[in-house]
Subunit: 228 residues, 2 copies
DNA sequence: TCTAAAACATGTTATTCAGCACAAAGGTAA
DNA sequence: TTACCTTTGTGCTGAATAACATGTTTTAGA
């Protein structure tokens, strides 16, 4: 892989570096592919790499009480993940899997740590990213615990639009999730995800066609999400 | 305040610094006192200071749907807080208040940012801290959403023991929370906190004497917490 | 193309927990 | 003291939602 190609894959990481650091990074750069639904890492494993999603869609999730799965966050193209546990000096407390076929760039964490020690701007990038993620996690805790089912599902739909965007028609979500994943994202059972989605469709807030979801009344969904 | 005194207040921040940086920090050091139940900062405000709790106990909380309060985390002596939002370039998404009379050290965030740019070891301290907090937040999301009332309350009691410790008898929690705060920590109504606490007492897992709580059967509480 | 499995859909029941209402106990101030 | 407010405690009711059962549709593999 040429340096120019590496630079294009991981601009946020690349940009702050000196020429010397860039050469070092380019020498420690791997790319790996994952199939749809393939596990990327598991809870309890020892983290070794920082990962950057080059293309595809990834879920970070956690299996809780009685094996019930909760999606903690989702990763879109160009985002970094899988590094938190190493930096906290822990094993993974979450697992990651591919929603769709993915290409992921892997960089050994010791390489990252060395760069962090040499490059203050890079450190600030990680500090900012972790700070943002922690704020999101705090918001999410309250949403998931206090909002009612309709509010949680509406929030998830809007969140998916924000994260992965829409197709050419400006309203069909670009991600086709199973009802089960939608449920795990919204902290509810699969039955209730199906039911509530049907209700939204009956109220003409959305149109469902299999896994394809069109958001018709975004403002009303926002209202439902906000009032809980 | 002498440099030695400053050093004692904020060892984690102080230790990585050069002599020059220490002098700079010592010149930008304030100490402020807060009364019991006094608000330290509010949601929506613009963050200006990193805070370090010198003594006392602090809650970080968030008012959610219908003003229902959720305690997100608690701070003990020597811990840093209130810096996340500034580093994420956001306003506060949480609020902070004193459980008990507190002494807090305040350092303007621009001072911290300057030190972060100069000192890689200090950056690593914040990266590690944020990474740990994010892991805790992820775990907490699943606990609060999936565990049942008894599991959540048991977890809170054990968490309070871990965080603030116990008195000389080795089993009385050192923090005397109102039932309301205990409820907000455990994501339940005050009535249910009272009821479940009474049940634990009836089962001889704990002894309650007003706000004083003695943990008798820690292993059984751990089991209740784990199975949810 | 057939078959089996997975995903989707919907109705019913059971459980958990929030939301009262109200009373007792403790603390605080005039 | 008395009065008042806050906190604690308890019972009852109903709403929200998980769990279960069952049938249908879609998908994937042989």
């Amino acid at each position: 892989m040429t340096e120019a190609e590496v630079a294009e894959c991981i601009p946020d990481l690349w940009q702050p570096l000196t020429q010397e650091q860039r050469e070092f990074l380019a020498q420690n750069f791997m790319v790996q592919k994952y199939k749809k639904n393939e596990t990327i890492y598991n809870e309890g494993e020892t983290p070794q790499y920082l990962m950057c999603l080059l293309n595809g869609k990834v879920k970070i999730y956690k299996d809780g009480v009685g094996g019930r799965s909760q999606i903690i966050r989702v990763i879109k193209s160009q985002e970094y993940f899988a590094y938190r546990a190493y930096l906290a000096e822990e094993n993974y407390v979450t697992a990651a899997a591919a929603f769709e076929p993915c290409t992921i760039c892997l960089i050994p964490m010791p390489v990252i740590v060395r760069l962090l020690q040499e490059n203050a701007e890079l450190s600030m990038f990680f500090i900012r990213q972790l700070s943002k993620d922690l704020g999101i996690a705090d918001e999410r805790t309250v949403s998931l615990t206090q909002k009612h089912i309709r509010g949680r599902l509406a929030e998830s739909l809007l969140f998916l639009k924000d994260t992965y965007g829409v197709e050419e028609d400006q309203c069909t979500l670009s991600i086709y999730l199973s009802r089960e994943d939608l449920a795990h994202l919204s902290n509810m059972t699969t039955s209730n995800a199906i039911r509530t989605l049907s209700n939204f469709a009956a109220e003409k807030l959305i149109i469902i066609d299999g896994r394809k979801i069109k958001l018709l009344e975004e403002e009303k969904l926002k209202k439902i999400s906000k009032i809980g």
